[in-house]
C-alpha cells in the first residue's frame, strides 16, 4: 500500500477498509480504473492525492495516467466539496428558458464561481449540461432534489433550505 501517508493517521481509517473492498471487487477486471475511481469518490466524496496514488498502485497503472483520467472526466473532483452540491442546468432547453439568469443569480447569492465551494463548505456550485429534466426547464438540482420551473426570485428560499 502507499507510503505517502502525510495525514499521520494511526487509527485505521474505515474508509481505507471500504477502499480495499472496492479494490477487491474489481481485482483483475479489465478497464477497472473508472469504476474504481467512482467507488473511491463515493467513499471520500472527492479524490485526495494519496488515494489516487493508492489506486495507481493497486491497479498497477502509471500514476500519471490515473491523473490524466481523473482530470478528463467532469465527474471527478480533486478538492473537497461543499455539503450541498448546487447543480444549475445550462442545457439547451434550460438555456432558452432562462437558465443563465438562474446561474447568475445563484452566483451572486453565493459569491462563488462555477465549480467553486463557499468558504464555509456549505455549497458547491456547478453548472451542468442537461440533467434530462428538460420538461421542467429551467431546473437546478440541490443534492438529489430537483427544483424546476424556476424564476430568479425563488432561489434564495430554495438555497436556504440546505444547511
Amino acid at each position: 500500500m502507499s507510503s505517502c501517508c502525510q495525514c499521520g493517521n494511526v487509527v485505521p481509517d474505515p474508509r481505507q477498509q471500504q477502499l480495499a473492498e472496492v479494490f477487491k471487487k474489481y481485482a483483475g477486471q479489465k478497464g477497472a480504473l473508472i469504476p474504481v475511481l467512482q467507488g473511491a469518490q463515493d467513499i471520500y466524496s472527492y479524490l485526495p492525492a494519496e488515494v489516487l496514488k493508492q489506486i495507481a498502485d493497486a491497479l498497477n497503472l502509471p500514476f500519471s495516467k490515473v491523473y490524466g483520467v481523473v482530470t478528463f472526466y467532469a465527474q471527478f473532483h480533486l478538492k473537497p466539496r461543499g455539503r450541498n452540491i448546487v447543480r444549475v442546468c445550462l442545457g439547451t432547453a434550460c438555456h432558452v428558458r432562462g437558465g443563465a439568469k438562474i446561474f447568475e443569480t445563484i452566483r451572486n447569492e453565493l459569491q462563488i464561481g462555477d465549480g467553486e465551494t463557499t468558504a464555509d463548505l456549505r455549497y458547491t456550485l456547478e453548472s451542468v449540461a442537461c440533467i434530462g429534466a428538460c420538461g421542467l426547464a429551467p431546473v437546478i438540482m440541490v443534492n438529489a432534489d430537483t427544483h424546476g420551473r424556476l424564476t430568479p426570485d425563488k432561489l434564495k428560499a430554495i438555497l436556504a433550505q440546505y444547511e
Binding site: 479489465k30 478528463f72 467532469a74 432558452v96 434530462g132 421542467l136 430568479p152
Partner: protein
C-alpha cells in the same frame, strides 16, 4: 364509469422530481386506509414530463396531470369510490381549451405513433413478466429458433433500420461487417451516453422499457457472434442505471441472459459501465476508450469498431433507440417495418420536444412527417402565444430550421441538406425572444468545453470561435468577425479528427445561413433584436406609469431597485444583473428593457 383496477404513476426522472415518489407512497397509504386493494404501479417515463406527475387510471385510461400527494384523498373519494372524474386534474388542450378525459384523447399522444415507446409508462419496468406479457422476448425466441446469423443480418438490412444515435448509418450493414470481421471474440456495445443537452429519449427507454434494449442487444449478439455486451450509460442517469441493473438480473434469472440461452446454445452476458461526465464519450471510439478505462479521446477511423473495437476486438456499437427498434422488427417482420417512414429513412423516430413549446416531452412519429406537425399538432404550438422563430435539431452538432422549413418532411437526408442533422432527435423550439447569435454562442460554449483536446482544429479553433461569438454578444463585434467565423468553421469541419469537431461549427453556420441579419444587427447597429444579449440592453422604470408599489424592488434578487412607496422607483444599472424578474412582476408594465 368502469371500476379502477390499476393505477399507473409515472416514475420517470421528470415526474419523480415533480414529486411522483411521494405520490406513490401517499396514494398507496390512502388506498390501504380506505381498505381498497388497487395496485399502484410506478412505470417508466410517459414522455410528457412538463405535466408531471402523471397518473393513469386503468382500464379506462383516465389521464390526470400535475397530481400531488394532497390530491390522493380526492382521487379516492371522487373517482374510485364515487365514479366521477376529478375535472381539475384533467389536461386542457392549449389549442382548443378543451379538457381531455383519457390518455388517448390527449392530442400530444393521439398524434404520435408509439412503437419504441409503446411500453414506456404502461408496464412496470422492474418486472420482466410485464414485458413478456406485452410480447417481449418473442422476437428473440423467433431468432433463436428459426434463424441463423446471416438471416438475422438480412432481416435487419431489409427493415431499412438506420442508427438513431446521430449519423443514421444502416444498422444491418454495421452488423454484417462485425459478423464478417475476423476473430472469435466480439462485443456488442450500447451507446446510452445521451450527451446532447435537450435529449432524453434514451433515458426514457432505459427507465421505462429496459428489456427492449436488452432484447435488441441479444439479437445483435446472436447475429454477429458476440457473447458479451456493455451498456455505457451516462453517470447523470442513476435511475436508468438502476432499472437496467434490475432488468439484467431478472433476465439472467429467467434465462434470457447467461449460458445456453433458452436452450439454444447461445451465450451472452451483459454489463453496465457508468460514464463519468464527458460528452465526447458519446462518440463511438471515445466511448470504447472510456470503457477500457482511458481518457475519452477518440481514435482515428479506420480501423472502424466493426473490425477493431473494444480491446481491439470486432465490436458493434449502436444507440439505445436503435436497439429498442430491433425487437419490434423481429416481432412484426422487416417488411412491415419497412412500410413505415420514407424511402431512405424507415420506421419512427423519437424526438425530445423542449423549449418554448406548450407540450414538452417525447414524441414518437413516423419518419417523414413535418416539423409543423410535431411542433403544432403534438407540441400544441408556441408557449404564451408567442411567435415561432426556429427549431434547433440535433443539439450541438445540428442546426436550426427557420419558419420557411416548417413543412419540410423530416428524415436523415432532408435535415442534412438543410444544414441541420437528425442527431439524437433533440428538438428545441425557439420563439421571437431567443437570440440566434446567443444560441450559437451557447452551443459553441458547450462543444468547446467538451472538446477532448486531442486535435488542433477543434481544441484551438472552437475556442476562437467562441471568443468571437462572445465578443459579438457583448456588443464588441468587429466587421471581420463573420468572415473569420466562416473561415474557422470550414477548417474545423473538414479537418477535425472526430464528429464532435466536424459538427461543432454547425450551429454557427446554420444561424448564419438563416439569421445572418441578427449577427449584422449586433455588430453594426449594436442591437440584439431579440432583447437577450444583456450587454446590449438595460432595464429602467418608466416614471410616468410607475405606481410606486415596490413589488419589483421586493423581487429583485440583488436589491438593485430602490424608491419610496407611491413614488416612481429606479433601477441602479450598475447593480442590476439583468435577470428580468422585475419585468415579470410589474403589474403596470412600467419596467422596460432597451
Amino acid at each position: 364509469m368502469s371500476k379502477v383496477d390499476k393505477i399507473l404513476i409515472c416514475g420517470g426522472t421528470g415526474c419523480i422530481s415533480s414529486g411522483s415518489g411521494k405520490l406513490v407512497n401517499g396514494l398507496r397509504a390512502a388506498l390501504a386506509g380506505a381498505g381498497l386493494e388497487i395496485p399502484v404501479v410506478l412505470t417508466g417515463c410517459h414522455g410528457f414530463c412538463e405535466q408531471g406527475p402523471l397518473v393513469i387510471m386503468e382500464p379506462q385510461g383516465v389521464f390526470y396531470r400535475r397530481v400531488q400527494v394532497e390530491d390522493a384523498e380526492e382521487i379516492i373519494a371522487k373517482h374510485i369510490k364515487g365514479g366521477e372524474v376529478v375535472e381539475r386534474l384533467l389536461y386542457t388542450e392549449p389549442t382548443t381549451g378543451e379538457a381531455a378525459l383519457t390518455y388517448k384523447d390527449v392530442q400530444f399522444y393521439a398524434k404520435q405513433q408509439r412503437m419504441v415507446l409503446k411500453n414506456c409508462g404502461h408496464i412496470d419496468p422492474e418486472n420482466i413478466q410485464e414485458y413478456i406479457a406485452a410480447g417481449g422476448y418473442e422476437g428473440l425466441a423467433k431468432v433463436l429458433k428459426t434463424m441463423n446469423g446471416d438471416q438475422v443480418v438480412e432481416e435487419v438490412k431489409k427493415s431499412g433500420l438506420r442508427g438513431r444515435g446521430g449519423g443514421g448509418f444502416p444498422t444491418g450493414i454495421k452488423w454484417q461487417s462485425t459478423r464478417q470481421a475476423e476473430g472469435t471474440k466480439k462485443y456488442v456495445v450500447c451507446n446510452a451516453d445521451e450527451g446532447d443537452p435537450g435529449a432524453f429519449m434514451d433515458r426514457s427507454v432505459l427507465e421505462g422499457d429496459p428489456h427492449a434494449v436488452i432484447e435488441g442487444m441479444l439479437i445483435c449478439g446472436y447475429a454477429i457472434g458476440a457473447d458479451e455486451g456493455y451498456v455505457y450509460v451516462r453517470a447523470e442517469y442513476p435511475l436508468a442505471i438502476k432499472r437496467l441493473s434490475i432488468a439484467i438480473a431478472q433476465a439472467e434469472e429467467a434465462g434470457y441472459l447467461g449460458e445456453n440461452i433458452r436452450g439454444s446454445g447461445f451465450n451472452f452476458r451483459l454489463k453496465i459501465k457508468a460514464g463519468a461526465g464527458a460528452f465526447v464519450c458519446g462518440e463511438e471510439t471515445a466511448l470504447l476508450n472510456s470503457i477500457e478505462g482511458e481518457r475519452g479521446m477518440p481514435r482515428p477511423r479506420p480501423p472502424f469498431p466493426a473490425f477493431k473495437g473494444l480491446w481491439q476486438k470486432p465490436t458493434t456499437l449502436n444507440n439505445v433507440e436503435t436497439f429498442a427498434n430491433v425487437p419490434v422488427i423481429f416481432r412484426n417482420g422487416a417488411d412491415w417495418y419497412a412500410s413505415l417512414g420514407t424511402e431512405k429513412s424507415k420506421g419512427t423516430k423519437v424526438f425530445a420536444l423542449t423549449g418554448k413549446v406548450n407540450n414538452t416531452g417525447l414524441a414518437e412519429v413516423p419518419m417523414g412527417i413535418t416539423m409543423r406537425q410535431i411542433i403544432f399538432d403534438i407540441g400544441g404550438g408556441i408557449k404564451d402565444g408567442k411567435k415561432f422563430k426556429a427549431v434547433q435539431i440535433g443539439g450541438p452538432s445540428g442546426g436550426c430550421l427557420p419558419e420557411e422549413l416548417l413543412d419540410l418532411s423530416i428524415d436523415y437526408d432532408s435535415l442534412t441538406a438543410a444544414g441541420a442533422m437528425m442527431g439524437s432527435g433533440g428538438l428545441v423550439v425557439m420563439d421571437e425572444t431567443t437570440c440566434m447569435v446567443d444560441l450559437a454562442r451557447f452551443f459553441l460554449n458547450f462543444t468547446q468545453k467538451e472538446s477532448c483536446g486531442k486535435c488542433i482544429p477543434c481544441r484551438e479553433g472552437t475556442k476562437r470561435m467562441l471568443e468571437i461569438l462572445q465578443r459579438i454578444t457583448d456588443g464588441k463585434g468587429q466587421q471581420s468577425d463573420i468572415e473569420t467565423l466562416e473561415r474557422l468553421a470550414k477548417v474545423i469541419k473538414s479537418t477535425s479528427l472526430c464528429g464532435l469537431g466536424q459538427t461543432a461549427p454547425n450551429p454557427v453556420l446554420a444561424t448564419l445561413r438563416y439569421f445572418r441579419h441578427e449577427y449584422v444587427a449586433h455588430i453594426e447597429e449594436g442591437k440584439c433584436p431579440a432583447g437577450v444579449c444583456t450587454a446590449l440592453l438595460s432595464y429602467f422604470i418608466e416614471p410616468e406609469t410607475c405606481k410606486g408599489c415596490g413589488l419589483c424592488a421586493k423581487n429583485c434578487p440583488v436589491g438593485a431597485i430602490t424608491g419610496v412607496v407611491k413614488e416612481p422607483y429606479t433601477i441602479d444599472t450598475a447593480k442590476c444583473i439583468k435577470c428580468g424578474v422585475c419585468i415579470t412582476k410589474c403589474k403596470f408594465g412600467s419596467v422596460q428593457r432597451r
